[in-house]
Point group: C2
Chain length 404, copies 2
């Protein structure tokens, strides 16, 4: 059961983008595991990919193809990550694009491939090819929610957000999906996100939107600190609404804000549905000298197994938070300037337990399923925020049994 909502807004269609979803049997039977997005000519596409040096073959291919522009299709399979597969994997990823392109009448570099699943096994290309044969002859009438279901691995629920905006004299739709539940940490995480709009946005502006909105959303979530080989967060603008948006022009500011909310919702949905999660936790670090410093502390707390197991136990063992702050790597930290809150409750003041703190009050906050840990370092004007979850028996079960 996810913690809170993982779907937001009405289910919408984005003009200029069509979806097909099928069961290709990549790894498991009776499971939707192949998704195809077909894009209208003129669509612009941008995105960010994992920084893992062992990034998967499809990541290499997607990055290369993305740089040529003129993308017409995205193909996503689950069940196999095609990572750690060497030159064989590169050939398979390339072949994936060729297969889709041949069926739809594009060139191979107009197709972006995405894979998620087990690392280190070669792709079952026969089943993949048969899947492509089937999916390209589908009606392309699938919904975003069906696509969200089709990209799930250990996810328990599909993740979707959609909204319409009346701006710039027209109506614009934004819809997006995400997946991921473990091996989640920025840069990115076995995490896929696809957000599309029917606004028309020039490539340069789309790139700027993607990097500025993905950074504080998909790049600020952590489940276990493990960065996947296959992460990608994509932003697609089909232009089919006929409404062109650009910085400084009418509607841009509102559009960017709403789009940012969609990215943040989809990123947070991953944490809400994280493997074994029973709590959704925001770690907010303020009054730091730099935002890097804030991020360092936020991740030290968000990824501490001791903090996470205390959250799981609803144990107000705030000493573990304090210890994580202390080991975060700020060598000149003046601990007497540090204060920590759980939601509205002050637990640490001037580096020691708050004089007003009571165990009962701490317990009352820890019993909640959504908790914000706010840490002020008292040494500057910067800040950053990271989203995470607790660490439960189910996390161990899920990850100890994942391949069996």
């Amino acid at each position: 059961m996810p913690v809170g909502n993982t779907q937001d807004g009405p289910e919408l269609a984005v003009d200029g983008l069509e979806i097909a979803v099928i069961e290709a049997g990549i790894r498991y039977p009776d499971r939707k595991d192949l998704v195809l997005f077909r894009l209208e000519a003129g669509t612009t596409v941008s995105g960010l990919f994992t920084k893992n040096r062992f990034c998967a073959a499809p990541v290499h291919v997607a990055k290369a193809n993305l740089s040529t522009g003129n993308i017409r299709a995205l193909v996503i399979n689950t069940g196999n990550a095609n990572a750690g597969t060497g030159s064989q994997g590169m050939g398979d990823a390339q072949l994936s694009c060729e297969l889709v392109a041949a069926q739809l009448g594009y060139s191979a570099d107009q197709v972006l491939p995405y894979s998620t699943g087990v690392i280190g096994e070669t792709m079952p290309m026969e089943r993949f090819a048969a899947g492509v044969q089937q999916i390209t002859t589908e009606s392309f009438g699938a919904s975003w929610l069906q696509a969200a279901t089709g990209i799930m691995t250990t996810d328990t629920v599909p993740k979707y957000a959609g909204r319409t905006l009346a701006i710039a004299g027209g109506e614009i739709t934004i819809a997006g999906i995400s997946k991921g539940a473990g091996m989640i940490k920025p840069n990115m995480a076995t995490m896929l996100g696809f957000v599309a709009t029917d606004a028309r946005i020039a490539q340069t502006h789309l790139d700027e939107l993607a990097s500025s909105l993905i950074e504080p959303s998909f790049n600020r979530i952590t489940v276990d600190g493990d960065t996947s080989t296959n992460d990608a967060a994509m932003l697609i603008a089909t232009g089919a609404s006929g409404v062109e948006l650009a910085p400084g022009q009418p509607g841009w500011h509102e559009f960017k804000q709403q789009l940012g909310e969609v990215f943040l919702f989809l990123a947070q949905a991953i944490v809400r549905d994280a493997e074994g999660a029973t709590k959704f936790v925001t770690v907010e670090v303020t009054s730091t000298q730099t935002s890097d410093e804030a991020r360092l502390v936020a991740y030290a707390v968000a990824e501490s197994p001791l903090v996470k197991t205390a959250l799981y136990a609803s144990d107000p063992n705030w000493g573990r938070i304090l210890a994580a702050v202390g080991r975060a790597g700020i060598s000149d930290l003046d601990t007497e300037q540090v204060s920590i809150y759980l939601n509205e409750l002050e637990i640490v003041r001037n580096g020691a337990v708050s004089p007003d703190y009571t165990e009962e009050a701490g317990q009352a906050v820890m019993d909640l399923s959504e908790i914000t840990i706010s840490i002020s370092l008292g040494r500057g004007d910067n800040s950053d925020t990271v989203y995470t979850c607790d660490f439960s028996h189910d996390y161990v079960s899920i990850n100890a049994d994942y391949r069996s």
Copy 2:
């Protein structure tokens, strides 16, 4: 049950050092929780302490007193860490020394205090004072193994190593103990280590021994990546054997080697008895440009929850190891130069699954309780090694229930 041995060698006494152990009821009844070491005049003492910025009050006091030299007693309590306790805690730590000093006729700065247990609660000084009253009138006839038991918290077994050496025309004894099971990561970890010898060693040489031998032992273990507020590893030389040792002199080399083995054994014993551990894992990274780089990769693998849960499941899901190497932060890593072994089994060659690898062979290694993960980056002549364990249901249980 620990993985392998946590006690090594005969139980010895170190001349010039006496031990007392009692139940002081600091937190729990019927539990040995107060240990006192009394040292002969002329004993030299050295050690390393946690680098956590929220280091506990007793760490501050111990560091200050250590710098004055002429240490005569070490007092160690479990049940309360006296960390995150502000000025009250500093006063209590100082008072601890004064209480011991008054009873034994020393000055307060000749006493080193150590605390381990829950963070953020003030010390029950009334019980501590009564404990000091009692322990200082004890026979001081306790053994090292009793001391090892007296400093346990979530440890399941006492950890001890002892050996005698016939060198430099005399016989020298080395004995030591350690504790710690969770919140374990170098610099240091809720980890205490006390190693003593009856050799006579000048302060400057003892300091050099402590830093050079603690670095590759107590500073290379990780259970959960959480660095404690209270860690300390101490080296004591009473001189009571009458045998003086110094660099370049007869016996020094052998002594240093044997002492290093004792430190390493005691450090590894902590990992063997780590909370919930079912496997003892050595992560060895070679062919790196720098040793820092090797350490970075070793910790990324050793602390990856996904690697650790795969180890727990005895699942040869080596893709998780590969993914951890890839995200370790070496931005110019050439993945095609990377090879990975599980014990003697090659699993990754040139950055992809080894052509000789079979799932059966991988399974056979993963079924063992002691596993070495060897990673070669193929980019230099440096290396480093870290010791860790798997991540089990019991880790979550222990840490979700610790305070209850």
